[in-house]
């Protein structure tokens, strides 16, 4: 979780990622950010997030995103 938050913070230092759960709905993250995040996750966690998982539910909060990473690495 810490690594993930670091990745996110690096992109948008001004956002409170611990508590925000409308990252997509409020246009905090745009498509470029999402791609960058996915690339980072790929190198940090060795988990590839497929395109079908790029839905608001998975990217609206850091928690959700972390849950996604866990689920994918379990499978």
């Amino acid at each position: 979780m810490e690594t993930l938050l670091e990745i996110l913070k690096e992109l948008h230092p001004e956002v409170d990622f611990e508590n925000c759960d409308t990252l997509i709905d409020d246009n905090v993250l745009d498509s470029f950010d999402i791609i960058t995040i996915i690339a980072e996750i790929s190198s940090e966690y060795d988990v590839n997030i497929p395109a079908e998982e790029i839905v608001p539910e998975n990217f609206n909060s850091a928690k959700a995103l972390y849950a996604l990473i866990k689920r994918l690495s379990d499978e």
Binding site: I34, I35, I38, A39, S42, S43, N48, A51, E52, I54
Partner: protein, 530 residues
């Protein structure tokens, strides 16, 4: 059949009446019949194409679904016996089976689109290459008509099949329902490009007559006709005069033509979408919005989140993301970061995807270099503005204007002008001419040539300009009102007399001021052939 035709108005009138008279469980079947009838009017041979797309997509979706169900059954039956690795391997096997089917479906349908839309473009390019190398042989063009709306319905059904593959929703088991999703006539002409999980929520339901809903739908239809018939078709005359005579109209007139075309395109396209969504609303069906006051955007990226929204999200979900997160791309990303460092190296892969997506978007708009260059320019503008971000940050740290009205206005005007300038590629005959003409805006910008007489020479009279001015004020006023909620909601709480007056004024203006009938060029919706 075009929206702005007597035949179409008769068609929807009859449909509306019959729709609410028949038993409700048959309503969606009526829509299917009406959609095929509508399509029949556009050319009977076109029915074959849309039927093929519906059938192939239906069958593949059912197949993919069946494989999915088998997998679930197998896994459940062998729940204790398989190790985690074995399960994983089994899943991968199933996925690859499904992928084969998906690819088949995509290749078949995009193949039809490619052949009908791009064959002659390809031949023309081969021919010009042949000419350049001095070969005497020339390939002859195919006489293949582009089926109406094929770009739209192909994209719509392909989003469906991909979503089934991704497990977003199950396959539709009733072929006729899928056929309706493919051919739903109001959006066949120019979108929006709907998603199955969204449209199916209301498309097949039983709808009882709801006067509120019907009223609002009709209001929206009329507003759409007003924009299209009174404004867009009127200003089109002046636009055409300018762009068809590039030898005469240069410099300041290119600028005028650019503004007029921006007006025309907005009124025509959003008007058409209003008609589409309005028709659906009368039928009790909810179609996704396609525009969100695009000319109020402060940047190109924002503009493309607000203009032709369903197309933008389609490219994002089904091309940009898959491309960006694909194995090769992630590998390239790692390579790039090693090579160019953490800053630029991180962005380069995203830019590569962006350019590819915009190339495709341009190609989708039309089989010509004009559109390809247009798409690439859009991508370039977006990338350049991202690369300039540090510059902006520096500027804003020095000057605290970011939140002033003046600065935001500047951003909006800049974005609209930039988008409109790039849009001129729609208009001029070829790419070099477009750039030459845009160039004259800087080299021969002579305001003194812009006399009243010259404006009258564009094919519009004083009265026409007055109508366009009043129309512009109305468009801006409605957009401003929309910022805090639907204009029709606000209208609904007004007294009946006010509501009637709005209807009255709209109907009379459309009938009297509309640029339709003999003596007017019957112009098609601009997006019709895309």
């Amino acid at each position: 059949m075009l929206f702005a035709s007597y035949g179409f108005i008769l068609f929807i009138t009859v449909l509306f009446v019959v729709y609410y008279l028949i038993p409700r469980r048959h309503q969606w079947k009526l829509l299917l019949g009406a959609s095929y009838l509508f399509y029949y009017f556009s050319g009977p041979e076109n029915l074959l194409y849309i039927f093929f797309t519906s059938l192939s997509t239906y069958m593949v979706a059912v197949k993919i679904d069946a494989i999915q169900k088998n997998q679930a059954l197998f896994l459940a039956a062998n729940s204790g016996r398989l190790s985690r690795e074995e399960r994983k391997a089994y899943r991968a096997l199933v996925k690859s089976q499904q992928r084969k089917w998906l690819l088949l479906c995509l290749i078949l349908n995009f193949g039809v689109l490619a052949v009908t839309k791009y064959t002659n473009f390809t031949i023309a390019n081969i021919n010009s290459v042949l000419r350049t190398v001095g070969s005497g042989t020339q390939l002859s063009f195919w006489s293949l008509a582009l089926p109406m709306g094929i770009s739209f319905y192909t994209f719509q059904t392909m989003s469906y099949i991909i979503d089934v593959y991704r497990g977003k929703h199950p396959a539709e088991s009733n072929f006729f329902k899928l056929a309706l999703f493919t051919s739903f006539f109001p959006q066949l002409v120019q979108g929006p490009i709907s998603r199955f999980d969204d449209l199916s929520k209301t498309l097949y339901n039983e709808h009882s007559f709801d006067i509120q809903n019907v009223n609002r739908g009709l209001q929206r239809i009329m507003w759409g006709f007003f924009k299209k018939v009174v404004l867009a078709d009127r200003i089109l005359v002046a636009v055409n005069t300018i762009i068809r005579n590039p030898d005469i109209y240069q410099g300041v007139f290119v600028f005028i033509g650019m503004l007029f075309y921006a007006y025309e395109l907005y009124a025509d396209f959003t008007g058409g979408i209003d008609i589409t969504i309005g028709i659906a609303q009368v039928l009790g069906i909810k179609v996704k919005e396609n525009f969100k006051r695009p000319y109020f955007s402060k940047s190109t990226a924002e503009y493309w989140r607000r203009w032709h929204i369903t197309m933008g999200t389609w490219f994002k979900d089904y091309l940009f993301y898959p491309l960006s997160v694909s194995g090769p791309m992630l590998k390239f990303s790692k390579f790039s970061r090693r090579r160019f460092g953490d800053g630029l190296g991180k962005r380069i892969p995203v830019y590569v995807s962006t350019i590819l997506v915009w190339f495709t978007t341009g190609l989708w708009h039309g089989a010509s270099w004009n559109f390809i260059v247009w798409g690439l320019l859009n991508g370039t503008v977006i990338i350049v503005s991202l690369e300039c971000q540090p510059l902006y940050d520096w500027f804003h740290s020095r000057f605290h204007v970011k939140h002033t009205f003046g600065f935001r206005l500047f951003q909006v005007v800049r974005t609209v002008l930039l988008m409109s300038a790039i849009r001129m590629l729609d208009c001029y005959r070829d790419v070099p001419l477009t750039f030459r003409m845009l160039g004259t805006m800087f080299t021969r910008f002579n305001v003194s040539t812009l006399t009243g007489k010259a404006l009258m020479g564009l094919g519009l009279g004083m009265a026409d300009y007055m109508v366009l001015l009043v129309g512009l004020v109305a468009l801006i006023a409605v957009s401003l009102l929309q910022r805090d909620g639907s204009v029709r909601n606000k209208l609904a709480v007004k007294p009946a007399a006010v509501r009637f007056a709005v209807y009255y004024v709209l109907i009379i203006s459309i009938l009297v001021l509309g640029a339709y009938g003999m003596g007017y060029d019957s112009s098609q919706f601009i997006y019709n052939q895309f």
